[in-house]
Symmetry: C2
Subunit: 361 residues, 2 copies
């Protein structure tokens, strides 16, 4: 059998990673600040990278906590803010690892439907009017994982208004902010109302996942509460990788690379849509405008779990929609096009269509 | 005032870090395995480094979990094994971060005295005979932090016997194993009886702390239980740093550097002992045979907290013994000589002696 093609993992293919700039960045970091790059440092992360992130977001350095990937920031936040039994609103579908962590934390998850322009704020408002008092509303506003959708400006404003009125916190989980194909972006909710929004993001999509660098932007008070917890869990995050990332960003490599990444993702998404339209005309999807993912909905009666199995036998891997939902998702698939080249997209869709035909009989 | 001299942090000075070999290792890692060094990888850590650690310890690869520093391994273990109210035996004194994490976990800490040849197994045996049933006994067997002591061979055997008889697990926390000044080492307890011992160690002392790489050696079953927890907390540990560490170890740089590190530490410890004997004749200490730390005991009536304050005013920083104890430690100081050069040791001890004279009146 030919090598498996993976539409499964939300990760960049190697050609989207600037390996030469990474080499140069580590060398520069070790030459400019060998002590800082090799010592423990502080739980808040490598100082110059904190400063860089703070500048990017127009916040004070004390409002930035760098972590070992953004999921670690979520974990610290969830452990700090939430107690078993607390209610947390999640988009439906949403990122599977967020669901898994929150479940382990023992909170009560309240799913709210995700629409093409983001979370259904009407449904949320009705639930709130009926008495729901969530502690937290988790949202992935840009180029959603797994759905690919982006939260519209009116809905951002509505969500902020609801948060202020009903006293909940919004967790804005935003790793795909910079990945619109055309480079446009809406203002972050945090920038519109920092009092009700915690902001989490990542370097995984701009630099590479292997450096495991995420960050939280919050009040200095909350960061101050999280610092001793981080220190007593892992002393400090990875100084070696963070000093590398700092040199990478400040050398201009991030800025230079982003256009290339956007363009490659745009071409892949476009090709994927064309191939799906031709090979799987029964399937429905919204063409992505950025990010890594396309959400594919299949006709009634199709079991995506079974389809994933048949596809795997034919050498193409995707994640069934059920992984991203508390219930439902049986007809959906998440297709990640970030890790595959154009040739793989063509072959992968052909194999998927073959599996679909085998399933449909 | 002259720059502060720090006897406070258990970290290597920059001259003990092979910065040039680190540069070469990152370049090699990115050339040999660019995808592996930059991608997410798995929660267990970078495969080739897992293999290297497994070979060093004569275990299966599936028994090794690489983490973001060894404290993260402890945290995963403690969360998995312990419930609030469980009893955990700790050495007295012991590593302050272990105490802090265990306290937050809500377990009942049972201190057992540390002697020059390690934990007082007689006291532990009496407590067990009286009915104590700890879930875990935490020990730092080699060149103890903060005390500098090493657990003797007869006590290792006794501890293993007690663990088997009373059904507790030993957590062997062993970052200083390789740091005997003369290169000798006793067998690890894990190698003597893997059924009752969990083993945790670190690359911080051999490579550098900034790479934040620790590891756990345990049964494949326990590693299998921890993997999904790690994955849902931080997806995977730092592949970039781990691929660097792998290239560093396999290039021979680790082996080449260790002799130099031991010799530098030996010279510093020797000088520290000489200076202390001359400048603070009233203080008592055991000359270290390896590692980073010397435990200084002052005459009755001395308050080490106050001494630390007066010393700080004079430009030298150490940690008071109370930080490493549940109670007591008021007359003790931990002096870390790993991060200071020989000139700093002389000046630091002189300042400390000046503070002592000011305190003693």
């Amino acid at each position: 059998m030919a090598a498996a093609i993976s539409f499964a993992r939300g990760a960049p293919s190697l050609d989207l990673v600037d390996v030469e700039a990474l080499k140069a960045a580590t060398i520069a970091a070790l030459e400019q600040d060998p002590a800082g790059a090799t010592a423990y440092g502080t739980a808040a992360g490598y100082g110059p990278l904190r400063e860089w992130v703070a500048e990017q977001h127009g916040v004070a350095v004390g409002q930035v906590l760098l972590t070992n990937g953004s999921l670690q920031a979520d974990a610290l936040l969830f452990d700090n803010l939430l107690s078993p039994g607390d209610r947390v609103v999640v988009e439906h579908p949403t990122y599977d690892r967020t669901l898994l962590y929150l479940r382990r934390r023992g909170v009560e998850l309240v799913p709210v439907a995700l629409q093409q322009d983001g979370i259904d704020v009407g449904q949320l408002e009705r639930l709130l009017a009926e008495g729901l008092r969530p502690k937290l509303v988790h949202t992935i506003p840009n180029h959603h994982n797994p759905a690919g959708f982006t939260l519209s400006m009116p809905k951002r404003e509505k969500l902020l208004e609801l948060a202020a009125r009903y006293g909940f916190t919004i967790l804005e989980d935003d790793p795909y902010l910079e990945l619109s194909f055309d480079g446009t972006k809406l203002p972050t909710m945090r920038s519109l109302d920092p009092t009700v929004v915690l902001y989490v993001s990542s370097f995984s999509k701009l630099l590479c996942p292997g450096v495991r660098i995420g960050y939280l932007i919050a009040s200095e008070e909350l960061i101050g509460e999280l610092l001793p917890v981080a220190a007593n869990t892992y002393i400090s995050p990875n100084m070696y990788a963070q000093a590398t990332a700092n040199a990478f960003c400040r050398s201009g490599a991030l800025e230079r690379g982003i256009g290339r990444v956007r363009e490659a993702l745009r071409r892949r998404a476009e090709l994927l849509c064309e191939e799906l339209s031709q090979a799987l005309p029964a399937a429905r999807f919204t063409p992505p405008k950025g990010g890594y993912f396309l959400w594919l909905e299949l006709p009634d009666g199709v079991d995506s779990g079974r389809l994933v199995e048949l596809a795997k036998e034919r050498g193409v891997v995707c994640v069934p929609g059920t992984d991203f939902m508390l219930e439902g998702g049986e007809r959906a698939l998440r297709i990640a096009y970030s890790g595959v080249g154009e040739g793989e997209i063509k072959a992968g869709v052909a194999r998927l269509a073959e599996a679909y035909r085998a399933l449909a009989g």
